[in-house]
């Protein structure tokens, strides 16, 4: 990881010194262990702030829509697919971007690491290949990285950037034999009543903070349907039916657009597994349209385009 960080600094310094871009989007070290903070660097002197580790999972594409400058952005596989979609959806122009592909072997889930602490206080972490070393108040621990990955990263099949101007390092091998829909199939197998109960329980802790929506690079509507008032689409209280409406409808708005970057689950303060909804729609889109979101600028998302041979069985 250290070498990736150094490469980032080197590339950033070059790009800014040579004024190839106006700003560079990256990460700086978090103020607490297991976190990092997105940063916008404008001057070569700011390069030192850059950081990279297994807790840099925030999708930087979230900060792109409607920006006007020339932007360099560090993009993992998922991030790069969101960039493709944002270009297709006219939220940013390809010419504005200098995309630096960062090969990723999965980000770590800070909450899974925190659960290991059991009340012990963490002071910092260090990473070596395959291991996460915890240093705390009166203790040290070593965890095997692969057991603490974010849920979406564990089943990721697009670890390398699909679009880039420069690759920071050699591409990593993609995972094979991954069943992305094991959990979805389990829910599909439930009766309607069991499913309703499952979703009620899933969404019960929701406090309508909209962190899921706001952390999502594909949720960029100037006025979200939740905030419409003439007419009002749904209530703003924590009424369970309004809450379900918000989540179900947001998931549908992401059908064919979600790249499973996992930011929604990472952002949720109540640790709600909202990807259970988007993954079902991801599976549906693959089955109906043979389409995976954002893999190529040559493919439009199926729900924003019409082909005469589009499947129609679900239309009445």
């Amino acid at each position: 990881m250290e070498s990736l960080k150094e490469k980032m600094m080197h590339t950033t310094l070059l790009l800014l010194t040579e004024r190839k871009v106006d700003v560079v989007l990256g990460f700086q070290r978090g103020t607490v262990p297991l976190m990092s903070q997105p940063i916008l660097i404008r001057h070569p002197e700011g390069t030192d702030q850059l950081h990279w580790d297994s807790f840099c999972s925030t999708n930087l594409a979230n900060f792109l829509p409607q920006r006007k400058e020339r932007i360099a952005i560090f993009a993992k596989g998922c991030d790069s697919r969101n960039i493709v979609l944002q270009i297709l959806e006219n939220q940013i122009k390809r010419e504005q971007l200098y995309i630096i592909g960062v090969p990723c072997q999965g980000m770590l889930d800070r909450r899974k690491v925190q659960a290991e602490l059991n009340g012990r206080q963490l002071l910092g972490v260090r990473e070596t290949s395959g291991h996460l070393h915890l240093v705390g108040e009166g203790f040290m621990d070593s965890l095997e990285r692969s057991s603490y990955m974010q849920e979406n990263c564990a089943i990721c099949t697009h670890r390398n950037a699909v679009i880039y101007d420069e690759l920071l390092a050699e591409p990593v091998s993609e995972q094979e034999g991954v069943d992305r829909y094991e959990d979805v199939k389990a829910i599909e197998a439930m009766t309607a009543k069991e499913r309703w109960s499952y979703f009620e329980k899933l969404l019960a802790p929701c406090i309508r903070c909209y962190a899921c929506r706001n952390s999502c690079p594909m949720c960029y509507c100037p006025v979200c349907f939740v905030d419409e008032s003439m007419p009002q689409w749904l209530g703003k209280s924590i009424d369970p039916n309004d809450t379900k409406t918000f989540h179900f409808l947001r998931a549908y708005h992401l059908a064919g657009r979600c790249t499973d970057c996992g930011n929604c689950e990472q952002a949720c303060p109540m640790s709600i597994k909202v990807r259970q909804l988007t993954k079902k729609l991801e599976k549906d889109i693959i089955e109906l349209y043979d389409y995976e979101a954002g893999l190529s600028l040559d493919q439009r998302p199926p729900l924003d385009t019409y082909r005469p041979d589009d499947p129609q069985e679900f239309i009445g």
């Binding site: 103020t31 903070q37 406090i207 703003k236 930011n263 109540m270």
Partner: protein, 347 residues
């Protein structure tokens, strides 16, 4: 008022007896999170937490509350008349609340209970609620309560303060209300001198362990307009995604929105938590939005808590150092960094 004591082994019974005449809200652990919930059995209580994910403010200011109902049927003489929904006023106890969160209720009182305006829902709930606190033997790395007028064993806002002294819980009596509760429960055993020394030592070690310190002296001195126009807001606001996490987990955030929900002529008027982070927060009926830009909203939150509030009320900042926003912000915006930027600001 004399410090009392109960044995740890008597705690379950203590909680049981609290439940006889009160709704008891206590920290309950569900998987990896602990939050305040109304309990029905003593074994639900988990006091091994650092602090809860959400603050206990929803016990006095529910996130969503129906306040009135009304009917719009023009043929009825009740048309358009608001009828207040009866709220539950059964006495309540918030058990195991941390000193920071208790102080937060005092700060919220400055908004909801003033000589010129009183929020009856807030005031009634405050009156029927007794706060039984739990001192922090091991503060979190993100706690900075001592910088903002609180502390791991601070008593402001509490009626009783429980201190975990190993085999016994020392109960410091802070208010008459707290004393009354103990009298009702028949807790008479006094804390021994030795036990009080254990508590003193705990307080000392706990205070020593707070590493997170923020400066606040400069906040009063700087001119509000100068801070408002500072350059550092650009950098502070960049990563913000304008979700509502910080405002919703914060024990001192109080903003709310009143909405009517009407279906086929039957209406409910409700109050929901609102957030200055949301775009809609300052949207006018005309369509103009004075804080349409993210920078304006982010700046507003910190200026309110760290500058406007202390300037107006002279009771310190509207922050109790609980650290929840620091732990929960999805992009790691750290209010402690903003304290520093604002405090050390030079024109």
């Amino acid at each position: 008022m004399v410090d009392r004591v109960i044995k740890k082994t008597e705690l379950a019974d203590f909680v049981d007896r609290l439940m006889e005449k009160h709704r008891v809200y206590a920290p309950v652990r569900q998987q990896d999170m602990t939050d305040f919930q109304e309990i029905s059995t003593a074994d639900q209580v988990d006091l091994s937490f650092a602090n809860t994910t959400l603050s206990p403010k929803s016990i006095i200011l529910p996130q969503s509350e129906v306040m009135f109902e009304f009917n719009l049927d023009r043929t009825s003489e009740q048309a358009g008349i608001l009828h207040e929904i009866e709220t539950d006023h059964f006495p309540r106890i918030i058990f195991g609340i941390r000193p920071c969160d208790a102080k937060a209720f005092h700060l919220l009182d400055l908004n909801f209970n003033t000589p010129s305006q009183r929020d009856p829902w807030w005031v009634r709930r405050r009156q029927i609620t007794t706060l039984v606190g739990l001192g922090c033997n091991t503060p979190c790395p993100t706690c900075f309560c001592t910088s903002v007028g609180s502390g791991p064993f601070a008593t402001e806002g509490l009626d009783l303060l429980l201190i975990d002294g190993d085999d016994e819980l020392v109960i410091q009596v802070i208010t008459e209300k707290g004393q009354g509760l103990l009298n009702d429960l028949g807790v008479e055993a006094e804390a021994s001198g030795a036990k009080k020394e254990v508590v003193s030592a705990l307080q000392e070690s706990s205070l020593q362990s707070i590493k997170s310190v923020v400066p606040t002296e400069g906040l009063k001195q700087h001119e509000a307009n100068a801070l408002f126009n500072a350059d550092f807001w650009e950098e502070v606001q960049f990563p913000c995604i304008n979700c509502g996490v910080c405002t919703f987990v914060c024990p001192t955030c109080w903003c709310f929105d009143i909405q009517d929900e009407v279906l086929k002529g039957n209406g409910l008027r409700l109050r929901n938590w609102d957030s200055c982070m949301f775009t809609l927060f300052t949207l006018h009926g005309s369509g103009h939005n004075p804080r349409s830009q993210k920078l304006q909203r982010v700046r507003q939150r910190f200026m309110h808590k760290l500058k406007y509030f202390p300037d107006k009320y002279h009771k310190g900042v509207a922050c109790v150092g609980c650290g929840r926003c620091v732990q929960q912000c999805p992009v790691n915006i750290d209010i402690r960094q903003v304290f520093l930027l604002m405090n050390d600001f030079k024109v």
